[in-house]
Symmetry: C2
Subunit: 218 residues, 2 copies
């Protein structure tokens, strides 16, 4: 039995990206983690771009499909939450999806299931495309923003906000004059109450799903 395989290579690459960031996924470092020579990887993967595409498709495969027997709104809600979770587990994936040339099978399967859910719910083809686009834009955009934010739940945000305030302390009145609303939000509200990305995501998601329902009823 061979030591390496496409599967093993991709899994190791994902583990490495999760632990040390996507920028430390180099062919040499990855091979080292697998106890192999760098060039051995090329037997299992045509090149680095294909490696990244493969990683992304595994992330897609971790996303829960909208349950076919459930009411459309809660079905899509579940897959949206599941998508965000997958993208939080693998933050590097958001940035890679934009570079993907050809969508992998897991990606296609998911797209198909979502469209099917919308069609079954009575959306016309045109509206299904529209509804699909809104949801996905929101989900990926949210994940994109989340990546740039300090980690660690509600209290983590509060800590980071207070730290930020301390950083600009000496020129605080300048900052407050230039960006009064930002100061109010970061220095006031978030420093005190924190911010939960998971909750914010779901609130926004419901705004969108309710909006889509209204679109459908017209």
């Amino acid at each position: 039995m061979p030591n390496l395989s496409r599967e093993r290579v991709l899994r190791a690459a994902i583990a490495l990206a999760d632990r040390e960031g996507i920028e430390s996924v180099t062919m040499r470092r990855l091979a080292e983690k697998l106890g192999a020579g760098a060039m051995s990887l090329y037997y299992h993967v045509p090149n680095k771009d294909a490696l990244l595409d493969g990683m992304v498709d595994i992330v897609f495969s971790e996303i829960e499909l909208p349950p076919a027997n459930e009411e459309w709104k809660s079905a899509l809600r579940r897959r949206a939450v599941s998508t965000r979770q997958a993208l939080t587990r693998h933050p590097w994936a958001v940035g890679l999806m934009e570079a993907t040339k050809a969508p992998g099978p897991a990606d296609l399967r998911l797209h198909d299931a979502v469209l099917g859910c919308l069609r079954r719910a009575g959306f016309s083809v045109a509206m299904a495309v529209q509804a699909y686009s809104v949801q996905d834009a929101y989900i990926y955009g949210f994940a994109l923003q989340e990546k740039a934010l300090p980690l660690g739940g509600r209290e983590g945000f509060a800590k980071a906000a207070r730290k930020r305030v301390r950083e600009v302390e000496t020129r605080l009145q300048d900052v407050a004059r230039l960006y009064p609303n930002l100061a109010e939000v970061v220095g006031g509200y978030i420093a005190e109450h924190g911010y939960s990305a998971a909750e914010a995501f779901e609130v926004g998601l419901d705004v969108i799903l309710d909006g889509l329902e209204r679109l459908r009823r017209e």
Copy 2:
């Protein structure tokens, strides 16, 4: 007067990225375009990451602020459309924003103006943050998706869809069995009617803004 300057370097980098893609923005190629040696750039920019940050902030500066004297919804609508336009002019910018460590002044100004607009419209701080997050997630996520799509307006999409169908022609019944809804949408609807990203964006945007209005009235 010196030949180079931070301004000239950043402008040239943006022009290069627009014309030949972000991956061809290397220090050497950029310097060549400016008729300079590679190392000359480092007098005006501390390193490549700072160069990219500077490019992103110029893109932000091209975005129209929400007019302060206008009703909140149409004001935010204008800035959203303006943001998408900027990101379509400079598609590489979406992927760079996620990597930005410190937001530049244009970014801060825009964030501040949007929050101010929401606060003036009567949103509480918490709701303003929420409303802000939904909008921006949608806008950036949409731009992200758009980057991966074939270019060229409604008819361009139709062409691309038909081409896609031709590509998988030989295994068409397999594809249609595996992904029936995708086949219906791409092979049927889009191949015939095309798809306009600009229109889809505005429809989705209105869904979101109307949803936010309802959120505010509670």
